[in-house]
Symmetry: C2
Subunit: 479 residues, 2 copies
């Protein structure tokens, strides 16, 4: 949830005064009274019984422009325009309570893996409410008892909704219905494709640092990981890819390249020219490309997502797409496997068990998201864009030693803590001494050591509190 | 939805007059006017504009005792006791409309695989509304945006809820938390266990007729099916099992026995003594038992479900359990793999991808069902029990040539159409000539040819209409 304050510059950057405001609110009202007082509210007027008055402008909800903590039914202040942002919880007229109170009521892994005093910015959940069309579609289905099995029409509906979204969002006219196959989720789709395409011991090229679950899933199926580390600027490195493709093709009946686009954890959004180079290399060495495009909908600023199958020279490739990440539907799985023009035979060979994991209710939610969720998505992206800037400012001020390049996509910040010169894993130290949970970079293999992945899809208050705790850890643990 | 009428005997059997009533209602009001008028209502008083009055007692909703078609907010008639039954849609005070109108609004496979004039009694969905605790838990989670990932706590919560249910329902004190592993659904759990336990070409003993998806799932993973047909009475046959176990063990590094309990499609509920014999045989031949207990909660009358892991001599076995079938949550998948005392190591070796298919929202629904859904389940079972008797009566009257033994469990009727002496598949003829969709028995292998599986978890009106259409088919297609 974004909290723009009067005086913030129109460019979306945070002035020092605003950042101070957010930081003070975080420390005084949300988390610091015993560590568990997450439900604290800042009433209109900036005062709260028993707590010193906040001597700074009163933040307003970026969506409805009502003062934070205003009760049910509050209306936008006259003359204040609506602004998009990560403010969905507070803007939901039916539940206009403070976001943090919502979050602790959730029962998902993010909020219940650690003790309540730990602030979790870990797995890919977002601290937002569901997009209203998604919420409404789900409630309607639940009320109607529409919880049976997904049928053939579900796949067709899903594919059509995705195709329309892709046309509108990226100007891509691909993903015809016949090229799509509904799969339970991105990872199961990926494993299914790998099973169809490779034999025991075949190489899979992966850009590191990489999502750790790739390694387990591929290796237990006999896949041999060939690392192709990203460049120092966290971009695809043509020479490294060339070498990796050559080695992989040389030692495999069918070598694969698992392209993560946009890249998790670095947030790199690959440019079209980079992907065209990938396609040329793949063709040269006979490497089959599978693109995991789970974060396709989460890019901002000048970065523009390019569907790999829209790149010339990609007809034998396959892509995996899902709106789950962008619409916070990790617990309601679903995805599409999409084949390039010369790869449709691969989909026909997918496991007979694949349909069993598909959730009809997830299909309903995903279709609603793709068909009607774009305004909500745009607001989300604007909020994420401001969050990445806020995080940059906070880290620069409170924890200047670490290195952080604001990403162009995904919900993650990839933070290089090596300048702190810690012997131990930074994620462990942050958890032990700061009571803030982030993901350790170590399992991401090459390029991951000394890094942490921080999920910044949260409120600015919690983001500020996280940095405060990380800075506290740095003071407690000199390198 | 059951429709008991005044004059029905207290034993639950249907007198001739009541059956006539249901049949007339079905043909006049629900489906017969153009084939798509599923939303027809029978107003209080038995008259409907433009339709002849129903010259028989007015049916009442078995749950709230209000006349069928009564509007919102109707109260139970004074002096009429509440009776359980498959009446959940009509008893839902927030949506007291006629069930059939609900059903056509569903978007699941059952209701949208065929054209609208076809009456579908196919896949394992039930024509009921969700149990109120399940509905409420889902709506609460959706409103709270609790759609993130399932965490370790979710598994623990799920296992505890199942253990309490198993204790209460079957007096079974097993399924300790440490013996349980959450899996995405029964079939994915089954395939995962088979992957861990067997090598290419190992035998899997299956009682036929058997759920067709078993064959595809097992064979594509290199499993070799050894059939052990049920007896003529559709029960486990000790001699057949002995022969099959011996053959399977002889030719495998690890032979498996996939026990379907209760058995789909026949509805056989295996007795404890039968399962003890299975355990003794399995021990003798070193065959590992995996029990698919998807329908465990759906038994009635004198039949009592026996968890296979509660049988003496089953410590190396594994079971798969889920409340999805009994609570109509096929589109919101989830299940538990449960290990016998000497099989917990198997769970630790399950695929690393397994957690990716797990739906957090499904976990919330399943836990609510197991913790608070028993009263609803009891009403459902009473309704299903009456439906199987109604079906028996209808078939005896309108289609006496077919053979049907009312099952003790599951939601299916397994109907032997061989006496009709058709050359073609009965399911195809019923669909083509009667516009009623049932599942062909042919893919169930031995014992399946000439049979159909009919899903009887529907309203008595639709059940009556289905039999009317089947009888019409028999008249059109003499053998």
């Amino acid at each position: 949830m974004l909290v723009p304050v009067p005086g913030a510059t129109t460019s979306g950057r945070w002035c020092g005064r605003c950042v101070t405001t957010v930081r003070r609110l975080a420390s005084r009202h949300l988390l610091c009274h015993g560590g568990t007082a997450l439900a604290g509210r800042v009433p209109a007027g900036g005062r709260r019984p028993g707590v010193a008055a906040v001597a700074c402008p009163i933040p307003v909800c970026s969506g409805c422009a009502a003062p934070l903590g205003a009760g049910a039914g509050s209306q936008p202040a006259p003359g204040r325009p609506r602004r998009p942002g990560l403010c969905v919880p507070r803007c939901d007229r039916r539940r206009p309570s403070v976001a943090a109170a919502h979050l602790r009521r959730r029962t998902s892994g993010k909020w219940h893996t650690h003790p309540p005093e730990v602030l979790p910015l870990t797995v890919g959940e977002m601290d937002v409410q569901l997009a209203p069309p998604v919420r409404d579609a789900l409630i309607q289905a639940v009320e109607a008892g529409d919880t049976g099995f997904a049928g053939p029409q579900s796949t067709a509906r899903y594919a059509r909704a995705f195709r329309r979204l892709a046309q509108h969002r990226w100007g891509w006219d691909g993903a015809r219905e016949a090229d799509c196959h509904a799969v339970p989720d991105i990872m199961r789709g990926l494993v299914g494709l790998v099973e169809v395409l490779t034999r025991q011991g075949d190489a899979v090229v992966v850009n590191t640092p990489a999502y750790p679950d790739y390694f387990g899933a591929l290796e237990e199926r006999g896949g041999r990981i060939v690392e192709a580390p990203l460049s120092a600027a966290q971009r695809l490195d043509p020479d490294t890819l060339d070498t990796a493709f050559q080695a992989a093709a040389h030692s495999s009946s069918q070598a694969l390249y698992l392209l993560c686009s946009p890249h998790n954890p670095t947030g790199t959004v690959h440019r079209r020219d980079e992907l065209e180079h990938v396609a040329a290399l793949a063709r040269r060495y006979g490497v089959r490309v599978i693109a995991d495009e789970a974060h396709a909908l989460i890019t901002w600023g000048g970065a523009r997502f390019t569907p790999y199958l829209s790149v010339s020279g990609s007809p034998t490739a396959l892509a995996l797409q899902s709106p789950a990440k962008a619409f916070n539907l990790g617990g309601l799985n679903g995805a599409l496997a999409i084949a390039g023009e010369e790869a449709t035979d691969v989909l026909a060979r997918l496991s007979a068990v694949m349909p069993h994991g598909r959730s009809h209710l997830a299909g309903i939610a995903h279709c609603a998201a793709m068909a009607e969720g774009e305004p909500w998505l745009d607001a989300l992206l604007a909020g994420l864009e401001e969050n990445r800037r806020l995080l940059q400012h906070l880290l620069h001020t409170d924890l200047p030693a670490v290195k952080y390049a604001p990403p162009d996509g995904t919900i993650y910040a990839w933070i290089d803590c090596r300048p702190l010169q810690w012997q131990d894993d930074p994620a462990e130290l942050f958890l032990t001494h700061g009571r803030v949970a982030v993901i350790s970079g170590r399992p991401y293999r090459t390029g991951g050591d000394g890094h942490v992945r921080l999920n910044m899809a949260t409120t600015p208050e919690l983001l500020a509190e996280a940095v405060r705790r990380m800075a506290h850890t740095a003071r407690r643990c000199p390198g």
